[in-house]
């Protein structure tokens, strides 16, 4: 099939939009930490993106999208982008490659939630390279590169399993290995710059249109449908979280934007398969579920600091299951539970739980490995003065 200029234009722009989500995550997280770690959070997002760019160019793309080896991983045939060219099916192969690259970069940035305010920069670089190679790339292969999940018929439109379950449950494992922040639970660690978090959230919402609609890989009706349900689910999630937190006190702006993100996460795997009414249900449930997960996390005294687990992990899990419930053949060609196809729900559940187990298990092992060799964590004094000064030699003047 020849290259279509409209499709190519659309995916080029979507790639740029998804790229902007990575600093968006940095700002989102940066506003939620204490002032002494703000620069560090934004810097980690940039470093994640830069690292993955290089890794993806050399091996990552090939591992994820190379010819299938046993359903588990891609072969090394696209090493160094060998054979990935300007021709392709509707859009150039190279464009597909870079569109997938920005997803991988974003996923590593989301993971930094688990190690906020206490990670050693050098260890993050090593860990990040290992993680994207051994967790992200296989998961991307399973779902999109012709791996076992794809053969089974599991649906993941834009990355509920690959991006959100992997980063959310990975962040949880990572937080368990690195341990709590000094003083966690003894005194409050309030977000110090909420407008910055709201700005980051806005960039995320904006970029998510590229993320989900672009996953149609063409400027067509499916992309438009994905765009619509993405926005609806985000709005429903924001209102649901706001409502739930209002019952317990004041509806914080932070809760509202978290609900928005929860809705966006949950609709991600389903965006190409569900209609707007289902998107409302998915978004509302995501808002409530992620809010409950966050309260559970806080009550348990788990320091998965910025709630990638509660929002991306649990939201991604719900979204993967919801795809099996609400999918309708009229949109994506596959029916779900409520349209009389319980089989799809079972497939979604298998895929989601295997991905969850894999992401958690492998992340845990990698984190332990890095921790035992070079140490994940900064010293107590470095942590006390903050990572901005201790890792970057910079600080924010009052």
């Amino acid at each position: 099939m020849p290259i279509d200029s409209g499709d190519t234009a659309f995916i080029l722009i979507c790639t740029a939009l998804v790229m902007l989500m990575t600093p968006g995550v940095g700002l989102f997280y940066g506003g939620m930490v204490r002032k002494k770690n703000l620069i560090s959070m934004i810097a980690l997002a940039f470093i994640a993106f830069a690292l993955v760019t290089i890794q993806w160019t050399f091996v990552g793309y090939s591992l994820a999208f190379g010819s299938d080896i046993g359903g588990f991983i891609g072969g090394l045939d696209f090493l160094g982008l060998n054979g990935v060219g300007m021709e392709g099916d509707g859009i150039p192969d190279l464009l597909f490659m870079v569109f997938q690259l920005v997803f991988a970069g974003l996923t590593l940035a989301i993971l930094t939630s688990g190690i906020a305010e206490r990670i050693k920069l050098s260890s993050f670089i090593i860990f990040g390279l290992l993680w994207t190679t051994l967790v992200y790339d296989p998961l991307a292969h399973w779902a999109w590169g012709g791996g076992w999940a794809a053969s089974l018929g599991a649906l993941d439109f834009a990355g509920g399993t690959v991006v959100h379950i992997s980063s959310g449950f990975g962040a949880l494992a990572l937080a368990l290995v690195i341990g709590k922040r000094a003083g966690f639970g003894q005194y409050s660690m309030e977000p110090h710059n909420i407008p910055m978090t709201l700005l980051g959230g806005a960039l995320l919402w904006f970029g998510w249109f590229g993320f989900n609609a672009g996953s149609a890989l063409a400027a067509n009706g499916l992309a438009a449908s994905a765009f619509v349900v993405t926005n609806i689910s985000a709005a429903a999630g924001a209102l649901a979280w706001m409502g739930a937190s209002w019952i317990n006190g004041k509806p914080s702006s932070l809760g509202m934007i978290s609900g928005g993100i929860a809705g966006l996460v949950a609709i991600t795997p389903a965006a190409g398969f569900v209609n707007p009414m289902a998107a409302i249900v998915i978004g509302v449930v995501a808002g409530l579920l992620c809010y409950a997960a966050l309260l559970f996390r806080v009550r348990k005294g788990l320091d998965e600091s910025l709630d990638a687990w509660a929002i991306h992990g649990m939201g991604g899990l719900w979204g993967a299951l919801a795809t099996g419930i609400f999918a309708t053949a009229a949109i994506g060609g596959v029916d779900g539970l409520i349209y009389g196809n319980p089989g799809q729900f079972v497939i979604q559940a298998i895929d989601a739980f295997v991905a969850m187990g894999y992401a958690f298990g492998v992340t845990f092992i990698l984190a332990k490995l890095v921790d035992m060799t070079i140490g994940l964590r900064v010293t107590e004094e470095e942590e006390y003065v903050g990572l901005d000064i201790s890792q970057h030699g910079e600080s924010i003047r009052a």
Binding site: K35, K36, G183, Q186, Y187, S188, M189, T379, E381, E382, Y384, V385, I389, S390, G393, A398
Partner: protein
């Protein structure tokens, strides 16, 4: 009347505020400051190079109270703000000669 200036760790702010309020001391002014004490800041080891972080963020609260409340306020702040490690901070007590309200014409002097 005395003025108390207490400088302590920022993360203890809420605890100190609550403890003072429970003992009936409510009025105060709070500022974000940076400071260093006799222990000369925090030394970080960095690849053999040493790096000194000397001005560390602290909280300063200022309260003007009656002379006989001084020991109680000092005790309360101490109990709430102490971790036992260097960098817990200091309190200074200064004499205040007069205190005048802005809203009313009230004028208190010793």
């Amino acid at each position: 009347m005395k003025k108390i200036e207490a400088i302590f760790r920022p993360e203890k702010r809420d605890k100190v505020k609550t403890a003072l309020a429970e003992n009936g001391f409510f009025a105060m002014t709070v500022s974000d400051v940076r400071g260093r004490g006799a222990q000369k800041g925090i030394q970080l080891q960095y690849r053999g190079k040493r790096m000194k972080v000397d001005l560390i963020p602290k909280i300063k609260i200022e309260m003007v109270i009656r002379d006989d409340d001084v020991p109680k306020v000092i005790g309360t702040i101490r109990a709430a703000a102490r971790t036992g490690k260097y960098g817990d901070g200091r309190k200074f007590v200064l004499p205040v000669d007069q205190s005048a309200m802005v809203r009313t014409d009230e004028f208190v002097s010793d």
